[in-house]
Symmetry: C2
Subunit: 449 residues, 2 copies
C-alpha cells in the first residue's frame, strides 16, 4: 500500500470502519479492525480504525464490524442488456443457439428500450453482487451509459461495431458514427468511460479495426474486443488471414495498451508473451467458456507472464448471471482441474483478478481496483456470518470459495452508497421488474417450438 | 408422474399451493399453478391448484405463488463435521494439505463435541440451501445422527471404517463395533438411516471391506465409500492389488445395490458398465474434484449408461461449501468444457442428479427424490424473483445456471417445515455460531506458520 495511514486530517464525507480491510494493494495489505475514509468520491485514508477515526470527522459512518471491506469487483467483460435473454435457450450447440435463437431474437427485439431495461436489470444485479465497474459491449450503448449513470455504477459502455448489419447499424461506418457520438457525448464523465467494441476478428474487417483504433486514439478511449475465444474462431481466422487472431491483431497494429481482449482461450506461449509485452488487457470469462464449451484459457501461464488479467462474467445469455463471486469460484476451481495442479489459480490470485487485475485489464489501475489513498472510493462491505462461511480462517479464500453474492451488504461507488445493507438506493427495482417481465413474456411467446 | 392428481380427499396437514411445481418424476412433469398436499409426512396429492385445494382441507397452507416448488436436494456425499475445517488451508498440494493440515488437526481436535457442532453447522447450511437429505461419512457419527435428527433433516450418517488409527477407533474392528452400535441404535428411525463408510480401497483391507458388507446386510444398511477418486488412488491400488479400484471391489463382491460410491473420476467404459449393471450408486462431486485437481468424472457417459448417478458437495474442507445449487452449476459447466460439447450435462439432467438421481444413488428412490403421491414430503419453495434470475424462460435452467442458494425460501422434510421464509425453525443458530467460533479460534491458533 502506498501508505498505511495518511497524515491528513479534517472533515470527510464517509468512514467505513471496524471491518477487516482487504486493500488488494500490490502488497495485498490486510488491516484488521481497519477503516477507510472517503472525501469527494476519493479514498483519503486507509488504516487502523483508531488512527482513521481520530484523524477524521465523518459526516457519515458505516459500521463494518465483523465484516470484510474490499474493493468493488471489476466485471471486465459483459453485455449488460442480454440479461433479458438470460436462459432463453441453453444446452444446445453454438450454431443452433446463434442461428435459431440469439440472432432472430436480437433482430426482432433489440431496441433502445430493450437495451435500457436490460441494462438497468444488469446494474441492479451487479450492484447487489458487489460489482462497482463493468465493461460492456452491445448495441444502442448510449442507453447502457444512461442506465449505468442512473445506477451510480462505474462503466465502460462500448458501442458494438460489425461489418454485418446489426440491430442499430447497417454498416461498420454507421457503427463508427454511433461510437463517435457516444464518445463525444460522454467524454469527461467522472464514472462513465465511453468506449468502442469492434466485435471480433471474424466479424470486423481489418481496415474497420484500424479505423476503430484511430477513433479511439482521438478520444483517448479504450477498445474492447472478443479475441481467440474458441477453436471455431481460430479456424475462421486461419482460413481468412492465414494466421491466428492474436497475431492478426498484432499485424494490424492494434494490440496495445488501449485494447481490452475478452476470452483469449486459444493462445500459445508466444501469443501470451505478446499480450503481456504489448500491455493488452485480457479478461478471462471462465463460466461462459465452460458453458459454451469454448475451452480453457491458459490462466496460470498468463498470471506467470504478468499479463494485465481481469475477470468477467460475459453476458447473461451465456453464463447465466453477472455474479463475480461465482465467477471467482469457477476460475479458481477450473484451472486446478484443467492443469491437474491444486496450487493453480490460488484464491488470492483470483481475487486480485476480480479487483486490481480487472482495473489493470481496463487500464484504470491508477483510479480503481484497490483501496489506497488517492484512488476513487469504489468498495463493498461483505458479511461472512452466514452458515456457509463459518468459521473464518483466510478471508480471501472465503471470498472465493465459500461466499455467495448475497453476502454483499453495502456497495459504494465514487463515495456514494448504491446499496445500503442490501437496500438498493438508486434504482426503482419494482419498475425494472415490471418492464423486464413484459419483455420476457413477449420474447417467450416468439420462441420457436 | 404416477397420477397427476389423486382422487383422495379429506383433511391434510399442509398444502403448498400456487407455485410452478417441478415434480422431477420420471416424466419430469411440471404443473403451473400447482399444489402439493401433505399428510403424516407423506405426499398425498400433486396437481393443479384448483383440484388440490377443492379436494383437501389443510390445517396449514403455504402460498408459493410466483415461486417454484421442487423436491429437496439430495446431497449424496459429504463429511458434515468438516465444516469446522472450511478453508483452513487451500491451494496447496494434496500431500501438504493432508500431512501438515488435515491429519494433525483431525488428530488433535476431532472429538464428539467437534462432530456435534460441525454437523449442526452443516445442517444449518444445508437447510438454508435446500438440501433435505444428506449422506455422510466421518467419525463419531452418532453425533451426526443426533444433529441431523435435531435439525429435522433426512440423513444417512456413515461410521468411518479404516485399517489405520482414526480419531474414534484404533483398528477397523473397533470401527466396525462402533458402526454396529450406530446401526442398532438408529435402525427404524423414520429419517435417520444409519450406514457404514469404509473409507477407500487404499485405506481399508479387503477382508475389512467384506466384513463391512456382511454387517450392512444384517442390518439392511447402505455402505458408502470413496472410489476411483484420483490418479494417485489408481496408482496405489494398482501397486497393491494389480487392478483398478472398481474391479477390486467387484472382485471382493461388494459392488452391489447396497453400495454408494463417491467420485468415480478415474473409470473406464467397462467399469462404468459394471457400476450401472451392479446397481451401485455413484455420487459425482465436481467442485471437490476440481479444487483438489483430481480430474473430471465421465458424467455424460455415466448418464448414457443410466448409472444411479447423484450429486454431492463432498466435505466443506475441499469445496468449500455444502451448496447443492452451486454444485449443479459447476457440474453443468464442467462437463461441457471437458468434452468441448455444449450439449453435455444439460440443466435438466443435472437437476435430476441433484434430486431423483441422488435418491437412486442412495437406493431410496421409492421414498424421496421427486414430488409424487406416496413419497415422503421433502420439498422446497424457491423464490426466483431476485435480479439474477429475471426474466424466467426455463425453470430448470434457471435453477441450475442462475439461482443462488439464498433463493431457497422454505424447506420441508417429512412434512415438517424446517425453514419458513428463510427463518430456521429447528436449530439454535446463535448457539451454533458461538460454538463454531470457539472451535475456529482454537484451530486457527494451532495452525503451522
Amino acid at each position: 500500500m502506498r501508505r498505511e495511514t495518511t497524515r491528513q486530517t479534517g472533515r470527510v464525507d464517509l468512514v467505513v470502519t471496524g471491518g477487516t480491510v482487504l486493500t488488494m494493494d500490490p502488497e495485498e495489505t490486510v488491516v484488521e479492525n481497519g477503516a477507510v475514509a472517503i472525501r469527494d468520491g476519493a479514498i483519503v485514508a486507509v488504516g487502523a480504525r483508531r488512527a482513521v477515526e481520530s484523524g477524521f470527522q465523518a459526516r457519515r459512518t458505516i459500521d463494518a464490524s465483523g465484516r470484510l471491506v474490499l474493493p468493488g469487483f471489476v466485471n471486465g467483460h459483459t453485455h449488460a442488456p442480454m440479461t433479458l435473454l438470460r436462459g432463453v435457450k441453453d444446452d444446445v450447440d453454438l450454431m443452433t443457439w446463434l442461428t435459431n435463437y440469439m440472432f432472430p431474437i436480437e433482430k426482432r427485439f433489440v431496441s433502445r428500450e430493450f437495451v435500457r431495461w436490460g441494462a438497468l436489470l444488469a446494474c441492479w444485479e451487479m450492484i447487489a453482487s458487489g460489482t462497482t465497474t463493468f465493461a460492456d459491449g452491445y448495441f444502442h450503448e448510449e442507453e447502457v451509459a444512461r442506465a449505468a449513470d442512473e445506477s451510480g455504477l462505474r462503466a465502460l459502455p462500448g458501442q458494438g461495431i460489425f461489418d454485418v448489419p446489426t440491430p442499430d447499424s447497417q454498416t461498420s461506418a454507421e457503427g463508427l458514427a454511433r461510437a463517435e457520438k457516444l464518445l463525444s457525448d460522454w467524454s469527461g464523465h467522472p464514472r462513465i468511460t465511453p468506449s468502442l467494441c469492434p466485435h471480433a476478428c471474424y466479424t470486423v474487417e481489418p481496415d474497420t479495426f484500424v479505423r476503430t483504433m484511430r477513433l479511439a486514439e482521438r478520444y483517448d478511449a479504450p477498445v474492447q474486443t472478443h479475441l481467440a475465444e474458441s477453436p471455431a474462431e481460430i479456424a475462421l481466422v486461419g482460413e481468412r488471414y492465414a494466421t491466428t487472431p492474436v497475431r492478426h491483431l498484432a499485424n494490424l497494429g492494434v494490440l496495445n495498451e488501449r485494447l481490452v481482449a475478452a476470452h483469449c482461450v486459444c493462445v500459445d506461449d508466444e501469443e501470451i508473451a505478446k499480450l503481456g509485452s504489448s500491455g493488452t488487457g485480457v479478461v478471462h470469462c471462465p463460466e461462459s467458456n465452460m458453458k459454451l464449451a469454448s475451452g480453457v484459457a491458459p490462466v496460470p501461464r498468463m498470471l506467470a507472464e504478468e499479463v494485465r488479467l481481469g475477470l468477467g462474467t460475459d453476458g447473461a445469455a451465456s453464463n447465466n448471471d453477472l455474479d463475480m463471486i461465482g465467477e471467482m469460484g469457477s476460475a479458481a476451481r477450473l484451472h486446478k482441474v484443467a492443469t491437474l495442479d491444486p496450487t493453480a489459480a490460488p484464491a488470492h490470485a483470483v481475487l486480485r483478478m476480480a479487483t486490481l487485475g480487472g482495473a489493470r485489464a481496463l487500464h484504470m489501475e491508477d483510479r480503481i481496483g484497490s483501496l489506497e489513498p488517492g484512488k476513487r472510493a469504489d468498495l463493498m462491505v461483505l458479511d461472512l456470518s452466514g452458515p456457509g462461511a463459518l468459521p473464518l480462517y483466510d478471508a480471501a479464500s472465503h471470498v472465493v470459495y465459500s461466499a455467495r453474492a448475497d453476502a454483499v451488504e453495502t456497495v459504494i461507488v465514487e463515495g456514494r452508497v448504491l446499496m445500503d445493507r442490501r437496500r438498493l438506493k438508486t434504482l426503482d427495482t419494482d419498475e425494472i421488474r415490471v418492464r423486464v417481465g413484459r419483455f420476457g413474456r413477449k420474447i417467450r411467446a416468439a420462441l420457436p417450438e
